[in-house]
Amino acid sequence: MPDIPPDPAAHPCSDHGGEHPTVLDLPHVPLSLKQEWLERETRRHFLARGSKALAWAGLATILGRSAPHLLADVAALPDRRPQFAPKAKRAIYLFMAGAPSQFETWDYKPKLSGMFAQNLPESVRGGQVLTGMTASQSALPIAPSFFKFARRGQSDRWVSELFPWTGKVVDELCVIRSLYTEAINHEPAILSITTGNMFPGKPSLGSWLAYGLGAINEELPTFVVMTSKIPVKTNVQALSNRLWSSGFLSPEYSAVALRSGSEPVLYLRDPKGVGRDVRRAMIAGVNELNRQLFEHVGDPEINTRIAQYEMAFRMQTSVPELTDFSDEPASTWDLYGPRAREPGTYAYNCLMARRLAERGVRFTQIFLRTWDNHTNLPANIRTMCEDSDQPTYGLITDLKRRGMLEDTLVIWGGEFGRTVYSQGRLQPDNYGRDHHPRCFSMWMCGAGTRPGISYGETDDFSYNIVKDPVHVRDLHATILHQFGFDHKKLTFKFQGLDQRLTGVLPARVIREILT
């Protein structure tokens, strides 16, 4: 390329009235390339700036506290309409991290009681590779459930004695006993069920819903996560915010994780000596600086930052009201149990989930995480159920009596199942169970799921599915369907693909469990 002498008028470092140079100012750049840059600038950045400008208008209004819905107009820029009329407006996902055993909970296997300590038939196992935790065991002794089952409810279904409370609402539940996954270890399995993919970086279910539907209440986050105090101190499952991250979607669709202490969201209180007006002026100033930066570089992530400042400011008002339980009637505490008064317990979180749903939060996910009972299963699962059974019952009953079960989807379950054989020494009153991805049980209720039914069947050993298998993808497709979305059409372009929660493999809406 011939050496072109620099043109002082077009020098990249020249001062264009305070503006930084752009590609258009650079020498040696072919005109065609400049043209292309100009077009891309127009199409991508202009759109982003347009929404930015609206967000700014929204903030200005919010600071005046006159019309908070203006921000909804910003949110409405992407198409926030469901594809068809939804049955569910919101969901509460009771996530039992660590994988509760199906044998003691929702997959009753009466024939096992006569097979105590017999070796698992090779024909059942079918050569399946076991985890490193039990692969070296000399025997795979069958461990029947230590807990008894009884028929409950009008639907006359078998309910474990671990669920004296949930058993009272069994007629509301749609139990699926034929879930399966490919993942045999916790992290990939939990990621699969929270994000649809066992590799990190994909948006979680709640983020997809926030992205697809937007907020009902702009004063609160669209997606909220709560972790629960652990009643058992062994086999504690690690949790991380990638389980509720927005992945490649804008960070504004990530969950806000409520803390369990006296301050559910940090730094919402104005510092001592700082009034709300000062805070207001400061946020306005910071956002103005961010706005100027955006005008310069056109990075849409700056909008996200501004949106987060706005949400934090709004939460200064909305969160104290949310967490003030003094308006709860006395019957609430009878219903959820006494522990509901203690912040951070599963019971407290269940009550909080109802309050969030009442106020329009789309998706609330409660994590309870000590179900990974490799050892001492009977004692540990008993403690887990004592901690969670009544609050779960309380939540369903409360939603139902308030008319909210009509359009609130409740989901209960873990990430995989557990083995029929004992991990470690099998005793009549003590045993453990290893991970088992081939089948596990969950239940759903409300929002157009069919109440009082059980779907799917496993063999006598709850080892293989014999009828109506439901992959995690099918579960996701079904949940999205209840929110008015065809899972194939709720997409986001990333890395050249129209990405979606259910990925590229086939997924099916389980219509048999829907009304």
Binding site: R81, A215, N217, G403
Partner: protein, 273 residues
Amino acid sequence: MRLACLLLLAGASPGWAEPATFADRVAPVLEHNCTKCHGATKQKAGLRLDSHAAVLAGSKDGEVVKPGDAMASELFRRITLPPADDDFMPSGDRPPLSPAEIAVLENWIAAGTPATDSFDAARLGPAVVAPPAAPDYRPRLAEATELARTLGVRLVPRSRVPTDGLVLRTASAPAACDDAVLAKLAPVAGLIVDAELARTRVTDKGLEAVGRWSNLAHLDLTRTAVTSDGVAQLASLGRLETLNLTGTRVDGRGLTLAGKLPALRRVWTFGGP
């Protein structure tokens, strides 16, 4: 009662013949709903529906009508699927055909798809499809959005199906919604199918306006000051399906009144007197 309304809506009366021809009844339905994509300018899937011969010629995948058998006809299947189905026609955001329009096509196919001979357009009665929840919102969405904005509430489409109606949202600022706001929504009232009024300042007086929202299917009055007198104002809501009175002072009299609503299937009164 609902069936009778449907029949009136459909404008068809089974029981006597209603002579019609392809040109005067079928072609207008096709032109109104189909020929933008299946006509002279565009021929999606190789299909044209702008003449009798073209309809019978079918698409690149074969015939779309089977003379004498509507149920086995692809065209009929497509227009009677749930609107959310991938195969549903018309595609995109276009509204579904009305029951009366579907009935015309069904009767024409059932009669053997005559080209010029007349057929009985009322023989099978109106098609059994769910009536639209509300009128097409598209022409008035901007107006409704703007009106709601000025009132401090939101009106949002329930779905992308233009006849699914609008949801009245107040959760961001329930205190901003009172009786006066409801009265001012009158210009777009026919579009509202779901009114989320929980924890608002709405009283019995405001329900006078709500009582005229003729397409309302869901009404949530949780923790409002509404009483049985308010419920009395809802008597003409012929399509109301769910009524949430949780935490209100509605008593047995109000429940009796609610029980007379023809379409009501669920009512909740937890926390009442």
